[in-house]
């Protein structure tokens, strides 16, 4: 039987390179698609992929392929070696990771129920969501429920040998009423942690709010509260600015700022590769380096950068267990990608303000519920984002819903102007984060 572990063993054994690393993943994925309020199709996919990195005289080659038999393993090793031989030397490469003791445990990263679930049960849960979302004039337009189980092994010629199995549940539904659209997403490692009734109710409420929104006119600087679902995209600048690859490439504004203030004192951000139920949680990263828990920002002070082994070598430090190939909502093509320096699971520590308090404390503001796409330029921090659903705040209360406006500002600046952090955390991709309130941002009518 072909397993990721025996595929890696064979690949490392076959390799004649100075150093070699094999990553093999066996995955099954089921996607359930909903269109117009009905389950439209179910896909059932399975794959086994191998990626081999070969180092010969500091020349690095990487080759990957889907694998069905021993010939495919030989082919991957042979081609990886061939690429290494013709590559120029990489003077910055120090070494593949040496084995380190991997101890401890991670909880809630594998769901037995998900692996065995029948179509009928899936149908029931999705019906619960649809029924709680739909009213006479709110229609569920699109939906995706993705269930993935995977197991992978990463092994290298220096003795690293790490295996991990996990599950991923990703839910993404949209609904429409008039010209308003609501979106709901859920991220988890376990199916039972997803409340389909709650997701449906949230979808209905967001759709109704979006459909009642009116175009915003004018231009105002006001306090802005951002929902966790949209905030995650904005706070991605923290994980890029602290990313060892961005630091080494001189593309981060936080170069040389360790120990300096980069945010208001209320902000603490942790990268934790072992948090219970984290989408990237495992005892080691995808290079087999033990994962860690570290402060990126502690009380507004920049405390650490994130490193995979390659970038740690350039920076003259140790990997922090932040070398990943797996995505967040899918593990497709994990074997195709060489390791990428990136965050594991990101936790923004909660503040002490309830959602109501965040609103009550401001005279004039806006609650952002949906951007077109929450993307910030990671180099400059600038953004100008189209608001598709927001609610104005007047005298400490929610006022009228708005759309057709831009929220503009600079995210690195905004981190120094946080005026409130919510007391509850929400799962959004690999982040756990609260509502957050900023000043110094501008709302411009379209």
């Amino acid at each position: 039987m072909i397993t990721p572990h025996n595929v890696c063993e064979k690949a490392i054994k076959l390799s004649t390179a100075d150093q070699s690393e094999a990553f093999c993943i066996d995955a099954k994925m089921r996607n359930i698609y909903v269109e117009n309020g009905e389950i439209k199709l179910i896909t059932d996919n399975s794959w086994l992929g191998l990626g081999v990195k070969s180092i010969i005289d500091n020349r690095i080659g990487y080759y990957s392929a889907t694998v069905k038999d021993e010939e495919d393993i030989k082919n991957v090793v042979k081609n990886s070696t061939k690429i290494a031989k013709i590559s120029p030397k990489d003077p910055k490469f120090k070494s593949l990771p040496h084995p380190r003791s991997v101890s401890g445990s991670v909880q809630d990263v594998y769901d037995e129920e998900l692996v065995n679930i029948e179509v009928e049960e899936i149908r029931e849960r999705i019906s619960t969501l649809i029924n709680s979302a739909q009213t006479n004039d709110v229609r569920v337009m699109t939906g995706l429920l993705r269930l993935i189980k995977f197991n992978f092994t990463v092994m290298n010629s220096l003795g690293v040998d790490f295996s991990h199995r996990g599950t991923i549940v990703y839910l993404h539904f949209t609904a429409k009423r008039g010209k308003g659209e609501g979106v709901v997403k859920r991220f988890s490692t376990k199916l039972n942690q997803i409340d389909f009734q709650d997701a449906g109710e949230e979808l209905r409420e967001k759709t109704l709010s979006a459909s009642e929104a009116e175009a915003f006119r004018g231009k105002e600087e006001l306090e802005v509260i951002v929902e966790p679902m949209e905030l995650q995209g904005l706070l991605n600048v923290i994980t890029t600015a602290s990313n060892g690859e961005y630091i080494n490439r001189k593309m981060s504004p936080w170069i040389g700022k360790l120990g300096e203030r980069v945010a208001t004192e209320a902000l603490t951000v942790i990268d934790d590769g072992r948090i219970s139920g984290g989408l990237r949680s495992a005892l080691a990263d995808d290079e087999g380096v033990p994962t860690t828990r570290k402060f990126i920002i502690e009380k507004g002070i920049l405390k650490s950068y994130l490193f995979d082994s390659y970038n740690a070598g350039i920076f003259g430090t140790e990997s922090t267990g932040n070398g990943f190939r797996r995505g967040i909502t899918s593990v497709e093509e994990s074997h195709v990608r060489p390791v990428n320096c990136t965050a594991s699971n990101v936790i923004i520590l909660p503040g002490n303000k309830s959602f109501d308090t965040l609103i009550e404390e401001i005279d004039k503001g806006v609650l952002i519920r949906k951007f077109a796409y929450p993307q910030v330029d990671p180099i400059s921090g600038n953004f100008g984002l189209e608001i598709r659903n927001a609610v104005l705040i007047k005298d400490g209360s929610l006022d009228r819903p708005i759309k057709h406006a831009l929220l503009t500002g600079n995210m690195y600046m905004a981190l120094t102007k946080i005026t409130g952090i919510g007391d509850k955390l929400y799962n959004v991709e690999n982040f756990r984060l609260p509502y957050m309130r900023f000043m110094g941002l501008q709302l411009v009518g379209m």
């Binding site: 389950i39 080659g61 013709i86 179509v119 699109t142 993307q375 600038n382 411009v444 379209m446």
Partner: protein
């Protein structure tokens, strides 16, 4: 090819309304050079079979990367099981119809990437890196990338089509970062297409490299852009976002059949000024989104979406064409063998007009030239347009004046299109990958001419 045809024969014994099977082999090479040093050379080959079954209006898909007959049969059975489980109690029928053909299509490339040594590909990137880094000592980082992707497809379906084809794509690009006194700016360029290494042979690396490096350096001292409702001359990259993200996604017929699109029932209506003609065309030689056949085996075609401001029609897959009782347009596409097929664009653009670029500038008293879009996001429900551009020029009295940095353009697409009053002869297509619903990436291109319109500017 035999196994693909065999599986169709096997599925036809299973009481299904329609079925198809597609074998896909994808071979890729990616090279990244950072600051005159190699960062990564990686290559991959992925192979899988996707099987699709339609029963009483419900679809079952299954795929596998293993190619024994037993495994393929198991995969086919799984697709049937899924479709039948979903269709239980349903009497809905979708009568799939389409072009039936038996054909083998070879890509028309002059220099197949496999015939070019890896040393030559590396040398190109090192040369580009050197040109960009040596432009100015304020350049702090240069990342150059080369990518090639060769796809091989074999497809058979229950209509009787048996097809074999290859697609070749080549891409090169750079990101250049400049820094000075705590300020940091960047610029980028990329070129791509369904072409071979001739893409790079025909490129003036010196010119492209110096241009992008100059932009990054000049942006360090660029001024803050103005804001408000302005006369904007949108470059082809911005025009492409408007065509693809807003008008294009809303013209995909799967959004029409469920009445999600703001363009539902729009055929025959005026949606733009007379200068606006918009097309999706998967047959353009060399364009990044071109395909001989879509993932369902329908030949690519040219679909006129807007003609002189009047809305004409939608892009279709086999399924949406059956539901709307029309012909498929070759827009049923899948990211890969693991993913579903649904309506996707190919090359989507506004047609060029009669003005020269210089004439549009000279004719503009006060305005803003918007250059280099950083992308956008679909909005088939609301028809909202948003893109951030890297840079631009203030136009005063018919001349380009101050160079300005990053700003955002937004508005309602239909309102913007109705204000278009000048369209250039100059025309460009820019390649890339399009996601729908934030995933399912397929190669496309977008673009058009320079368009002059009233657009809201903010975010500078």
């Amino acid at each position: 090819m035999d196994v693909i045809s065999d599986i169709i024969e096997y599925l036809l014994t299973k009481d299904v309304d329609f079925c198809d099977a597609r074998l896909e082999e994808r071979k890729q090479l990616n090279i990244t050079v950072v600051n005159d040093e190699i960062r990564a050379i990686s290559s991959s080959e992925n192979r899988g079979i996707s099987i699709r079954v339609l029963v009483n209006g419900a679809w079952g898909y299954a795929s596998t990367t293993k190619d024994t007959w037993e495994e393929i049969k198991r995969t086919a059975d799984m697709a049937v099981k899924m479709a039948k489980a979903l269709s239980e109690g349903s009497s809905k029928k979708i009568e799939i119809h389409g072009v039936v053909s038996t054909e083998e299509a070879k890509p028309r490339v002059l220099m197949h990437p496999w015939d070019v040594s890896i040393e030559e590909k590396l040398d190109t990137l090192f040369t580009l890196n050197r040109i960009e880094r040596s432009y100015d000592n304020r350049i702090v980082n240069v990342t150059s990338r080369y990518a090639e992707r060769i796809d091989h497809f074999e497809l058979a379906n229950s209509l009787g089509s048996v097809l074999v084809w290859d697609e070749v794509r080549t891409r090169i690009g750079s990101i250049v970062v400049a820094a000075e006194a705590g300020r940091m700016q960047y610029s980028y360029f990329h070129k791509d297409g369904t072409v071979g290494f001739e893409l790079i042979k025909n490129l003036n690396l010196e010119e492209e490299g110096q241009k992008v490096a100059k932009e990054a350096v000049d942006l360090l001292s660029a001024k803050k852009p103005p804001a408000g409702q302005l006369t904007v001359i949108a470059d082809p990259s911005v025009a492409g976002v408007l065509a693809h993200e807003v008008m294009g996604h809303a013209s995909e017929a799967d959004e029409i059949v469920k009445r999600r699109s703001f363009l539902t029932d729009a055929v025959g209506k005026v949606v733009g000024s007379e200068y606006i003609t918009m097309v999706d065309d998967g047959t353009i030689s060399g364009a990044h989104g071109s395909i001989p056949f879509d993932s369902e085996g329908t030949p690519a075609s040219r679909t006129v979406i807007i003609e002189k401001g009047v809305y004409k029609g939608y892009m279709h897959s086999l399924e949406t064409a059956a539901i709307m009782d029309t012909e498929p347009t070759g827009n049923g596409r899948a990211q890969d063998f693991n993913r579903r097929i649904f309506v996707r664009m190919t090359n989507t653009f506004f047609e060029p007009g009669d003005w020269s670029f210089e004439e549009i500038i000279e004719d503009t008293k006060d305005g803003l030239l918007a250059l280099k879009s950083l992308g956008g996001m679909e909005d088939p429900v609301g028809g909202g347009f948003q893109t951030t551009v890297l840079m631009g020029y203030i136009i005063r009295d018919g001349e380009l004046k101050d160079f300005v940095r990053e700003f955002t353009l937004s508005g309602k697409a239909l309102e913007i299109l109705k204000t278009v009053d000048a369209v250039s002869k100059e025309f460009e297509l820019h390649g890339g990958y399009c996601g729908k619903g934030e995933e399912d990436w397929v190669p496309v291109s977008t673009g058009g001419p320079y368009l002059r319109a009233k657009i809201l500017v903010g975010g500078g």
